[in-house]
């Protein structure tokens, strides 16, 4: 894939909207593939820059979120800051 790491907000509104629609579908498709190939439950929640909610759940969002509330185990939890670190390490590595 692209080695570019320092991505930033698309300034042109039209371009940002088109990119959002395309990448959102792509992300849902990848989540679908992960859930089928590896037999796991996936939920994706997106609020766009206009605060509209888009969601994907492999089977049922209710079920995933309910399981989430019941989960007390330590687990992997990442944010953009963590990913930026990981990508920088890989970029250099």
């Amino acid at each position: 894939g692209r080695k570019k790491i320092q991505i930033s907000r698309i300034l042109d509104q039209r371009n940002r909207q088109v990119t959002f629609t395309k990448r959102k579908f792509g992300l849902m498709k990848k989540a679908y593939e992960l859930s089928v190939l590896c037999d796991c439950e996936v939920a994706l929640i997106i609020f766009n820059s206009a605060d509209r909610l888009f969601q994907y759940a492999s089977s049922d969002m209710d079920r995933v979120l309910l399981r989430y509330t019941e989960c007390g185990e330590p687990h992997e939890s990442r944010t953009n800051a963590d990913l930026l670190q990981a990508l920088k390490r890989r970029g250099v590595g």
Binding site: D62, L65, L66, T69, P74, H75
Partner: protein, 37 residues
């Protein structure tokens, strides 16, 4: 088991559970973060 929520909306029960877990800082997001490789 939760009823399969109608297309897309999540049941009020789940939302309340989620909200109280978050507000009481009991949600999974607060559980010790483990650096899984």
């Amino acid at each position: 088991p939760t009823l399969l929520s109608p297309k897309g909306s999540v049941s009020e029960e789940t939302k309340q559970k989620l909200k109280s877990a978050i507000l009481s800082a009991q949600s999974a997001a607060n559980v010790r973060k483990e650096r899984l490789c």
